[in-house]
């Protein structure tokens, strides 16, 4: 049932599918980029290892900047570097960057259109035991309202690697987020990735499931179960939140007549917000949402938290059924 043109991992439905943290793709790509482009620089605020930039630091110490636990300054320094011709990658946790330096992102980076690439690691509820303070569930909402800023949520480590290359390939500010935990490898080196282009990973006709980030794997598994129950679900990898691929998204919902959004983020203002705005303006249709229901997280194991707050395969299946029923009324 996988869309062959996407060259996806054929073992994606295997319970023992290979799992890799998305952030690993970031660290790999930075070293690949640095070899090609001497202007690439990396900044971090005392989080070199966990944001996977330690390898870059060791290999390119002259192009690495340890800014200490001072995120506001780090973002401003990155803006200065970018306006001086460098390509700085700011690496921290999403709760701090952009959570703690949104003003600097807004003014120094976005208003000045500085070519700064902002990487927010440890996003989503699946950060787990660290608890609510460290679970970024608002970062998409606060970044996608900023003019000039591109916002991307890659689905796995390989897509994160491609995303990192892609953001270095255009001039302009960008925010992209990673997860902490190991998550299924969905894509391969052959899979297409173009900023602003939705990838249809499973084709279907009854309901559109729009997902971003590692929960895309849950959405795909939900689609497989739905098919066995007689519901044909189309699954979209909506990796680019902004600019959103309105044409591809609306075309899918025109075909299926309803949709479900899936994300590890507050339903308010995240992918669900983008989709609601898009449908309202272009093609009003029933919509259900899987994500954080206007609530803070808490400590726990990732799977326990995803279950408690309704972001599992079963929640996606139920939401899809609700959406299909509303279509028929």
């Amino acid at each position: 049932m996988l869309n062959e043109s996407q060259h996806l991992n054929p073992h994606i439905f295997d319970p023992n599918v290979e799992q890799v943290p998305t952030r690993n793709g970031y660290g790999t790509a930075l070293i690949e980029l640095a070899e090609k482009n001497p202007e690439v620089m990396v900044l971090t605020g005392d989080l070199a290892d966990s944001t996977r930039v330690l390898g870059f630091w060791k290999k390119y110490p002259d192009r690495f900047l340890e800014c200490g636990i001072a995120e506001q300054n780090m973002m401003g320094v990155a803006a200065g570097l970018a306006l001086a011709g460098k390509i700085p990658f700011v690496s921290s946790y999403a709760v701090f960057v952009p959570g703690r330096n949104w003003d600097q992102l807004r003014v120094s980076v976005c208003y000045g259109n500085a070519n700064v690439k902002v990487a927010g690691a440890h996003s989503g509820i699946s950060v787990g035991p660290d608890g609510a303070t460290h679970q970024a569930l608002e970062d998409i909402a606060i970044t996608r309202v900023l003019p000039n800023l591109t916002v991307i949520v890659p689905c796995d480590a390989e897509e994160t690697r491609k995303c990192t290359h892609a953001v270095a390939g255009f001039v302009g500010p960008c925010y992209f987020r990673f997860a902490r935990e190991k998550t299924p490898v969905i894509t391969t080196t052959e899979s297409p990735f173009v900023i602003g282009k939705i990838n249809t990973v499973i084709e279907g006709s009854d309901v559109t499931i729009a997902a971003c980030g590692p929960l895309l794997a849950e959405a795909m598994n939900a689609a497989r179960d739905l098919e066995q129950q007689g519901i044909s679900a189309e699954v979209l990898n909506c990796h680019t939140i902004k600019p959103f691929d309105i044409n591809a998204f609306v075309a899918s919902v025109k075909k299926t007549g309803c949709c479900v959004t899936v994300e590890e983020h507050q339903i308010t203002g995240g992918l669900a917000g983008v989709v609601a705005e898009t449908l309202g303006r272009n093609f009003p249709a029933p919509m259900e949402s899987v994500g954080m229901p206007d609530h803070f997280g808490e400590s726990g194991e990732p799977n326990e938290l995803l279950k408690k707050y309704g972001m599992t395969k079963e929640d996606i299946i139920e939401a899809a059924k609700r959406s299909v029923i509303r279509k028929k009324k």
């Binding site: 900047l65 300054n73 780090m74 306006l83």
Partner: protein, 298 residues
């Protein structure tokens, strides 16, 4: 060594900049008076005698970078750029008006052809941006040193201007800490030590003393000057540029509202413009340098 004659010319220029600041603020009907008037001598020294910039070579990759962190004092920046030949003086009256290059807070986005390198406004951001520019120049110098035969990457000195009240912001000290750690000699910061901010004097609102000691503790060199003595400002900048060990802060002791008697040292004039009557009195005072000479306008 700058000549006495040249210093006198620069003093006249600074006075002309003050007159233009009054005219601009009157036309704009909003904006800040005290800071721009107080910093006219520092701006004159920086743009006419210190920084490696020129309107004939605008866009030169090796130009010095000047970052205005307390961007609300941008009337003095715009007036200085006009006197320096970067923009027509008539344009100054478009300050804060729809469609102008001269936004209420200076930024690179609206005026790419002017030597305005970044966006400013929310305080402290310019300091961090300036640290970034200085680090970029150092990185380029390292690349040049590593491969002397390759095409040279551009290098420059970075000058940053900041207010004293601005230093209430924690981000400033994050920036000072990083520059101190890196011994960032490629950076010099001018602090406008005028002792006022919106709600009162700096020592009442949030005490900054011992001011110079704070910078020394952050591994900065410190020079204190009379911010209205253009020769001393230039000498301090020369010294800062020659410092090989660490970044330098030049604490410029200034009189807010300098040149207009009823504004001088009054924090109430931080964030408001003069009305027509006040502007007339201010201009008469500036044109006669406080009654010392006859005004050519009378």
């Amino acid at each position: 060594m700058i000549s006495e004659k040249r210093l006198q010319e620069l003093a006249v220029t600074a006075n002309g900049i003050r007159e233009d600041i009054i005219d601009m603020l009157l036309a704009a009907k909003s904006g800040h008076s005290a800071g721009p008037l107080g910093m006219a001598d520092v701006f004159t020294a920086l743009y006419f005698a210190i920084a490696n910039i020129s309107p004939e070579t605008r866009g030169d990759a090796n130009r010095d970078r000047i970052i205005l962190s307390n961007a609300h004092i941008c009337p003095v920046l715009y007036a200085t750029l006009a006197h320096r030949g970067y923009l027509p003086r008539e344009e100054l009256k478009t300050l804060r008006k729809l469609g102008t290059r001269l936004q209420g807070h200076s930024n690179n986005h609206f005026a790419p052809e002017l030597p305005i390198e970044t966006c400013g406004g929310p305080l402290a951001q310019g300091l961090s941006q300036a640290v970034g520019f200085a680090i970029a120049s150092r990185a380029n110098q390292k690349m040049n040193d590593a491969d002397p035969k390759a095409i040279k990457h551009p290098t420059w000195h970075t000058w940053c201007l900041t207010g004293d009240g601005e230093l209430d912001e924690g981000q400033c000290w994050e920036a000072f800490m990083l520059a101190g750690k890196l011994n960032l000699r490629e950076l010099t910061v001018f602090v406008d030590r005028n002792n006022i901010q919106i709600d009162g004097t700096t020592e009442d609102i949030m005490p900054l003393e011992p001011f110079a000691d704070k910078f020394r503790a952050f591994n900065w060199s410190v020079i204190e000057v009379d911010g209205h003595n253009i020769r001393d400002i230039i000498d301090a900048a020369d010294q800062a540029r020659a410092t090989a060990e660490n970044p330098t802060v030049i604490i410029c002791h200034t009189i807010p509202g300098k040149g207009v008697d009823f504004m001088e040292n009054k924090y109430e004039w931080h964030g408001i413009p003069p009305n027509a009557d006040q502007a007339r009195i201010a201009l008469a005072e500036l044109r006669t340098i406080g009654g010392q000479i006859a005004s050519e306008h009378e």
